[in-house]
């Protein structure tokens, strides 16, 4: 979803999300901090298409937004976050570590014009995101790493090693550790076999 966004910011909902008309819902937000890209300043209305992410009044959130021009002077801000990808924050800001990781990821996904996305840099940033304080960001990072792992070339041995050892560091998420280590094992088994990515599914009689 980051690739589809024009910007990323921290904002506070000024009122709860409400359905609006046939095709969308709206949430008034107050921008608090730009993380990356092009973002609204001060107050703005975030539009969403169904299914809707519901934000409560006075809720702080990390938003991924796209700008849609309406006439010469007016911009409409659209959420690019699919259902379930709301990133609600415990406070009005993110930590410096989170800020740095998100900007690294943003830069990898939004290269300079003419350049390709930097997959290696994205993988490195996603690995770092597995230790961020926001659980939702850790979960999204895991899912994105799993997607990248469909092509093992995206994840070099150093990253695989870290995945295999995940859970051993104080900043690691103990709940997610089995899934992360499992991802590492899958990558290792593919590497050992020296095969192209195998079919990720298989059958066995119970």
């Amino acid at each position: 979803m980051m690739a589809a966004a024009d910007g990323m910011l921290v904002a506070r909902a000024a009122a709860a999300t409400r359905a609006r008309g046939e095709h969308d819902a709206a949430t008034p937000f107050l921008a608090r901090e730009k993380i990356a890209g092009e973002v609204p300043s001060e107050g703005f209305v975030l539009d969403q298409r169904p299914p809707i992410l519901r934000y409560a009044e006075v809720q702080d959130a990390l938003l991924l937004v796209a700008r849609e021009q309406e006439g010469a002077a007016r911009a409409r801000w659209i959420s690019v976050q699919p259902a379930g990808a709301g990133i609600v924050l415990d406070g009005p800001t993110v930590s410096e570590q989170t800020r740095v990781v998100l900007r690294e990821l943003w830069a990898a996904v939004h290269p300079e014009p003419g350049a390709e996305p930097d997959v290696a840099a994205a993988a490195k940033a996603l690995l770092a995101a597995l230790t961020l304080s926001e659980q939702k960001l850790r979960a999204l990072a895991f899912l994105d790493l799993s997607t990248l792992a469909n092509d093992p070339q995206h994840l070099p041995p150093l990253i695989t090693e870290r995945l295999l050892g995940y859970g051993g560091q104080p900043e690691d998420d103990a709940q997610m550790a089995p899934a992360v280590r499992d991802l590492g094992r899958r990558l290792t088994s593919r590497g050992t076999a020296g095969n192209a990515p195998p079919a990720a599914t298989g059958a066995k009689q119970p």
């Binding site: 008309g21 994205a122 899912l143 119970p206």
Partner: protein
């Protein structure tokens, strides 16, 4: 696949032993040796219920008590609550988590503020003298058979073996206005939304429904069957839409209904239709069974008996007014569709839809010919599929999916990693005295796209050759069934997510999130509103091979393993 995995029970009961004496009174030529019982037990999480032993909030909705600091009538994160230790005893992760009725479907944190109409566990038991089949439908978004502390297997274990039930079929209607029974809709998508005490209650109620239905068994005098046109039903046209207008814009539009009549009139009806029960959409905060409530009510009003509704092949098939609106489809001769808008969403509109569908089924049944039903043939298959969608593994890891550790042991799947899913399917054939199939049923453990039931070779996208992944077409389930009445029970027993045809399956990617090669393009000049959307369904699909597994298994159950020869999608399976 090995045919010895299929267990078959085929019993032809002689008419002389069980023939109901009153049958000859009927003016029809129908004869049946069946007995049928039915029961409806509420699972509504509101108010008083002698079977409920958990806490009730001030609003009357079941849930842990809390201090409503902001006075908005619902629990909000940060408010203090009384953590009921009985929930923790069932699910250790419940400790410190608010347990209440989070509504399933759409976004997170949609907590119920009341109950509009009952949601149910409804069971019909069919018995031919040797086989006793219990079919249960619950008004839930979906659930699991083998949960760690809940699920249909737990309910089955509560049924007295002396009742003699030989086979169970369980299914969820996919109701998007019922409690979360999977865990995906808590305060956030990474927070379990299940209420352990309530899920244990559901298991007890399911067991009660099965037991009561067995206790109510009575001889059947007459079985009637009705179905609308399988490919185009004018009465139902425009009520089904594709999610986001996803092509191909086709449906299994067949509405199927069976009625079982005894000495005192209609005992039960069985209703089967394929579209998402989510007509009340995401803003509703009252528990309800959505339009199936009104379908059942209308059929019961006109035909009598107790109606049991089961959702069919509803993958990507949504009720009108959902995401593909504003001229996406016509309903009337002038091209209009009174439901093709989100403006009127609410209970009156839901009632109109439900009663209209119920009326079609009821009138059809009352005018339908009888079916000769002499024997039951029940076949089951179990296969394993390692999930390739990391979302499922993450949900298991976080304790959102509470899976039975032994049943879902990763070691049982090749590679020994990831979530190892168990696919169970059941095929039922009701045959006449000559053994000729009259009614057939297939169960599907998820939300299968209709083109997989109808046959991908004939029902597929033609708008965008570039989007074809090259995976072979899965075989048609419908074509493998021989009976005139063919029913599909979706989300049975499990909700393992969307089952998407392989040729159109696009897994998620951080740089290209399920974008279609023809994203945004129009694909039907008659309906400019229909444009190719991004691929949403794969986000909640256990894996691309799921389609081959369920279609090939269905074909094998009905036709035998020889029928898989020459089917590339089946031969490619491990």
């Amino acid at each position: 696949m090995e045919s010895n995995e299929i267990r078959a029970v085929l019993v032809l009961v002689t008419f002389a032993t069980l023939l109901v004496s009153g049958c000859s009174d009927s003016s029809s030529s129908s004869s049946t040796t069946l007995r049928v019982g039915v029961a409806a037990v509420p699972i509504t999480p509101c108010g008083a219920n002698a079977a409920w032993d958990g806490p009730v909030t001030a609003s009357g909705v079941w849930g842990e008590s809390y201090a409503d600091a902001n006075g908005n009538g619902r629990y909000d994160v940060g408010e203090t609550f009384t953590d009921d230790a009985r929930n923790e005893a069932l699910d250790a992760q419940s400790k410190g988590k608010y347990d209440g009725i989070y509504m399933a479907g759409f976004g997170a944190d949609r907590i119920a503020l009341g109950c509009h109409d009952d949601i149910w566990a409804r069971t019909i038991v069919v018995d031919d003298g040797t086989t006793r089949l219990a079919i249960t439908s619950v008004d839930l978004v979906g659930t699991l058979k083998y949960g760690s502390y809940y699920g249909f297997a737990h309910a089955e274990a509560m049924v007295d073996p002396a009742l003699g039930v030989t086979n169970f079929i369980h299914a969820s209607t996919h109701n998007h206005q019922g409690p979360d029974a999977l865990g995906l809709w808590g305060t956030d998508t990474v927070v379990d939304g299940k209420f352990p005490l309530y899920l244990a209650f559901i298991d007890r109620q399911v067991a009660s429904a099965i037991s009561a239905a067995v206790g109510a068994l009575e001889p059947v005098r007459e079985v009637r069957g009705f179905r609308t046109d399988p490919d185009e039903s004018p009465d139902l046209r425009g009520l089904q839409v594709r999610t986001g207008c996803r092509p191909p814009f086709i449906f299994d539009s067949e509405l199927r209904a069976l009625s079982f009549t005894g000495a005192n009139g209609t005992i039960a009806t069985l209703l089967n239709w394929g579209t998402h029960p989510e007509s009340l959409e995401s803003e509703n905060e009252l528990i309800t069974s959505d339009f199936p409530h009104y379908i059942r009510d209308e059929v019961e009003r006109q035909v009598g008996g107790t109606a049991v509704y089961l959702s069919a092949d509803l993958g990507a098939a949504e009720i009108v007014g959902d995401t593909c609106v504003g001229g996406a489809d016509a309903r009337n001769a002038d091209g209009s569709n009174e439901f093709d808008s989100r403006d009127g969403i609410g209970f009156p509109r839901t009632e109109r839809i439900g009663r209209m569908v119920g009326d079609i089924a009821a009138r059809g049944l009352l005018a339908a010919p009888t079916i000769e039903a002499a024997s039951l043939d029940v076949r089951t298959a179990s296969k394993r599929l390692a999930a390739s969608n990391a979302t499922f593994e993450l949900a298991r890891s976080l304790g959102i999916l509470d899976l039975d550790a032994q049943v879902y042991d990763p070691a049982l799947c090749p590679g020994g990693t990831g979530l190892c899913g168990l696919f169970e399917q059941t095929a039922v054939t009701v045959a006449d005295g000559d053994g000729k199939p009259q009614v057939q049923i297939i169960t599907i453990p998820g939300e299968i796209f209709p083109e997989l039931y109808l046959g991908v070779a004939e029902h597929r996208r033609t708008d965008c050759p570039a989007a074809d992944t090259g995976r072979p077409a899965e075989p048609s389930i419908r074509d493998a069934m021989e009976a005139p009445f063919r029913l599909v029970f979706g989300l049975s027993p499990d909700e393992l997510g969307y089952i998407v045809p392989g040729y159109d399956y696009y897994p998620a990617n951080i740089f290209d999130e399920q974008r279609d090669p023809c994203d945004g393009q129009e694909y039907d000049p008659s309906y400019p509103r229909r444009r190719v959307p991004t691929h949403y369904h794969e986000v909640l699909s256990i894996g691309v091979e799921a389609a081959s597994y369920v279609t090939c298994t269905a074909v094998e159950l009905f036709q035998g393993s020889a029928a898989l020869a020459g089917q590339p999608a089946c031969e490619a399976l491990p």
